[in-house]
């Protein structure tokens, strides 16, 4: 890699990686929140004797 432009190439790849890794982290946090929310709703419904979807 020619030295003159190496910083630009590294910067571009770092930004692209940050974007893709950002999606992965956000999706993991979002999934955890959704799973916790569903577990809480199912627990409340069970305690109240409300039938679920199944």
């Amino acid at each position: 890699m020619s030295g003159d432009y190496a910083a630009y190439v590294i910067g571009a790849y770092a930004l692209a990686a940050a974007g893709l890794v950002g999606i992965v982290v956000w999706a993991a946090v979002d999934r955890r929140a959704a799973r916790d929310g569903l577990a809480r709703a199912e627990r409340v419904a069970r305690d109240a004797g409300t039938p679920g979807d199944e």
Partner: protein, 251 residues
């Protein structure tokens, strides 16, 4: 949306959200593995095995992350447009889930395309940003993604949110051909199409192969994350349905 899930409970195959969720859970690890593998091979070619350009030098390597991100930004919007038709015409229960899950992914792809393009532009054009038709229409696409995400959040009732956003998505689809053909319709600093041309690509195969491998990796990444986010959205909607049922039962 609770009524939507009731009406589809008996539908066969992956139209049934529960069956789709089970299939997604099985597919995600395989897609994720294939995506990591494709990125590993693509990055090897992009950073080491492919040649430098005789004019651009090593900045040509930015193309391997910039161009697939731009393609995915457009592809994601087309996925959302198909899903919007699925919502409005076929009332498919997963259509709105698919569109809603794709929007943040599309926004990030667009941002990556804009940012990496800007980094390429500084050494090649001498400017981080120019208001040419391609860049401006891509920036508008980014704001459209943000607007659609905000619209989903602004409308409380999911079925109504699905209809409103589906209409907004289909109105916004006009921007996709504008982005694609902006370099033909106007004089732009951004170069013209060099891969998707009627007379074939103008890029040498030593650069075209890594570009397609990286595009495949981005596509697999999108498929993986789209399924993961759709799965989360289905769980959220099921939880909402349970809470509504409970509220109705206790009212």
């Amino acid at each position: 949306m609770a009524s939507m899930s009731h009406s589809t409970a008996q539908k066969p195959s992956i139209v049934n959200p529960a069956r789709f969720a089970a299939l997604a859970d099985r597919a995600v690890p395989w897609l994720a593995g294939a995506s990591v593998l494709a990125f590993a091979v693509g990055l090897y070619y992009a950073l080491w095995a492919s040649p430098e350009d005789y004019q651009q030098g090593s900045t040509v390597r930015i193309m391997y992350v910039h161009v697939p991100a731009a393609w995915m930004a457009l592809f994601t919007y087309m996925v959302m447009s198909s899903a919007a038709i699925g919502t409005l015409v076929f009332k498919h229960p997963l259509a709105d889930v698919a569109a809603k899950a794709a929007a943040p992914l599309g926004a990030v792809f667009t941002l990556v395309a804009l940012a990496t393009g800007s980094i390429w532009g500084k050494p090649m054009w001498g400017a981080w940003w120019v208001w040419d038709a391609r860049l401006t229409s891509m920036l508008i696409l980014f704001f459209m993604y943000l607007g659609l995400i905000a619209l989903w959040r602004a409308v409380d009732e999911p079925a109504r949110a699905a209809r409103v956003t589906a209409i907004a998505i289909l109105v916004g689809v006009i921007n996709i051909p504008i982005i694609k053909f902006s370099v033909d319709w106007w004089n732009t600093l951004h170069q013209g199409a060099s891969v998707m041309r009627m007379d074939g690509p103008t890029i040498h195969s030593s650069m075209l192969v890594p570009l397609f491998i990286m595009a495949g990796a981005y596509m697999l990444f999108f498929a993986t994350m789209h399924l993961v986010v759709m799965r989360s959205e289905l769980m959220r909607r099921r939880a909402r349905g349970l809470r509504l049922r409970l509220a109705r039962g206790t009212a």
